[in-house]
């Protein structure tokens, strides 16, 4: 579904992403791991159009998408959540998801119809699925950090994506919240058939839910393969798992 081929992106003299390769098949859960500063978030920014690559190719369903703006990519079926909470703080939980749904339905230019109650059914069902239904009328700024991260995902779901990209979905979460988030990601994959690409520091989580794993070090891809392949890879052990001791 998604293919990234030797993509390069540099800021000034620093090559944040340097020859990254990635392949995500339809329906898969794929994780990107790597030490801090390996270029994971930059790679995601490149895929979702928030940055455009200096060279290399990014293909989504066999179409070249490198350099397309985010709102176009979203309409093609790629949406994402962010590492740092990125929601509409002054709007309620319901409204946060509602905007995403309205945007997908191309209704955001309607000036004289009342927004109240629009797309309510779909928004409610998304909120029930992620477990935020009870808090639907709470201003999103007032949610706990864990709930805000879940809302992140809910907003992304409002776009009915085919490919959902999650940038460290559990960053800063309490253990029980992490547990809940894992269940949610599983559910999205199993029940809704979403293709999910995510990056994460929590190795337990990665090896638990990702079917395939791509390892990035210093902007480049070290290896991409199944859990076993990655675990066995000597280079990975040296460069990442052994050294940082996070495994």
């Amino acid at each position: 579904m998604l293919r990234v081929e030797s993509v390069v992106k540099s800021f000034g003299g620093f090559k944040a992403v340097n020859g990254a390769n990635l392949e995500v098949g339809a329906g898969e859960i794929v994780a990107v791991i790597g030490p801090n500063g390996a270029g994971k978030t930059t790679l995601f920014h490149l895929i979702t159009g928030h940055l455009s690559p200096d060279s290399g190719r990014i293909l989504f369903k066999d179409r070249e998408i490198a350099g397309l703006p985010p709102h176009v990519l979203c309409r093609m079926g790629i949406t994402r959540s962010f590492q740092v909470v990125n929601i509409f703080q002054r709007l309620t939980v319901f409204e946060n998801v509602q905007i995403a749904v309205l945007s997908r339905e191309r209704k955001t230019f309607r000036i004289f119809s009342a927004v109240q109650g629009m797309a309510a059914e779909e928004v409610h069902s998304i909120l029930r699925n992620v477990g935020l239904y009870e808090q639907r009328d709470v201003e999103s700024d007032l949610l706990s950090h864990g709930d805000q991260k879940v809302l992140e995902i809910a907003v992304a779901l409002g776009g009915k994506p085919e490919l959902l990209i999650l940038d460290e979905p559990t960053a800063g979460m309490a253990p029980e919240e992490t547990e809940r988030c894992i269940r949610l990601i599983r559910k999205l994959s199993d029940e809704f058939g979403l293709t999910i690409l995510f990056c994460e520091h929590d190795m337990g989580l990665v090896f638990e839910i990702a079917k395939r794993i791509m390892v990035m070090v210093r902007g480049g891809t070290v290896v991409q393969g199944s859990r076993e392949e990655v675990r066995r890879n000597r280079e990975v052990q040296d460069a990442y798992l052994g050294e940082t001791g996070e495994c």
């Binding site: 985010p70 709102h71 949406t79 002054r90 409204e95 905007i99 955001t108 907003v155 992304a156 776009g159």
Partner: protein
């Protein structure tokens, strides 16, 4: 919600009866308050709801007024057309300036807008043969029905009420909600498929249009126009109205505009340093009521709903 409706109805009824017992001068002041409130609320569409740094909103007010005034004095067209053309010209100007400025974000947008707006002001200020230069245009002929003080007041009241209704609809529309989303988080908005700049541009045009309507009302109420209407310091004053009343409430700018206009009228009777008092009040509001006067009231009396714009 019901309570708000009752309050609005009472307010409207009170405003309708004002000319019955107020002296002529105060009816005039009331009309100025109304159209200034419309101006401030139109600015708030861009700045409070859209998060766009609209720093030179008075230009659209001024162009709306000049457009109307020039139509009324220099063309044989019916007056109704003049009152309509003014706001349309200002919407058009808003579109042109918007297209140029929108590529910049935040403060840079505001700075460029001030520069372009000042060019417009300078043109109006200097072009004696067409705009009357720094003298402005006086004694603008109006249809009999709205030429009397009471007529002008009721016309202003009706148009302002209509515009408030329309703006309230816009704020509560899918477009309005999306705009608030962009204000809170433009990056996320684009990530969910919203074309951020296109929405902001539409918001600017709408704000310019209603600002222009306020300008055309000024022609009706004051019978004259002058370049100071679109000098940048006045833009600042309108911005202060929004801050004072509360940018994240719909009626905040109305409150702010009322306070500012009345303050100027009544305090300047006693001292020419009325802006000193304004400065003190503004400082206190910013320190103690960061959501503005109305924002504070809403928060206080409707907890939980407080910060909803």
């Amino acid at each position: 919600m019901k309570k708000t409706h009752v309050a609005l109805f009472l307010l409207l009824a009170a405003l309708c009866s004002l000319p019955l017992f107020l002296p002529r001068f105060y009816t005039y002041i009331a009309a100025i308050v109304l159209l200034t409130a419309l101006l401030a609320t139109s600015l708030n569409l861009a700045i409070g709801y859209g998060g766009i740094y609209q720093f030179h909103h008075a230009v659209f007010y001024g162009i709306g007024a000049y457009g109307t005034a020039l139509m009324l004095t220099r063309t044989p067209m019916p007056a109704a057309l003049g009152l309509l053309v003014g706001p349309l010209v200002s919407a058009l100007l808003s579109l042109v300036m918007g297209v140029i400025c929108i590529r910049l974000s935040k403060l840079y947008f505001g700075m460029l807008q001030i520069s372009l707006g000042s060019l417009v002001w300078a043109t109006v200020y200097r072009w004696y043969s067409f705009t009357g230069g720094d003298d402005g245009i006086h004694g603008i002929p109006l249809p009999d029905r709205i030429a009397t003080p009471d007529g002008a007041y009721y016309y202003t009241l009706a148009v302002t009420a209509l515009c408030f209704f329309a703006m309230h609809r816009i704020v509560g529309s899918p477009f309005g909600k999306t705009l608030q989303g962009i204000r809170d988080n433009p990056v996320r908005s684009s990530a969910i498929g919203v074309h951020v700049k296109a929405h902001q541009l539409v918001a600017l045009v709408i704000a310019g249009l209603f600002g222009g309507v306020a300008g055309s009302l000024f022609v009706v109420v004051n019978n004259s126009v002058f370049p100071d209407m679109m000098f940048w310091t006045f833009s600042l004053e309108v911005l202060i109205m929004c801050l004072l009343g509360g940018m994240y409430t719909f009626f905040g700018p109305l409150a702010g505009a009322s306070i500012l206009v009345l303050l100027r009228v009544f305090v300047s009777v006693y001292t020419q340093y009325w802006s000193l008092l304004l400065g003190a009040i503004l400082t206190l509001v910013i320190i103690f009521l960061p959501d503005g006067v109305l924002g504070y009231a809403v928060r206080r009396f409707r907890p939980g709903e407080g910060r909803r714009a």
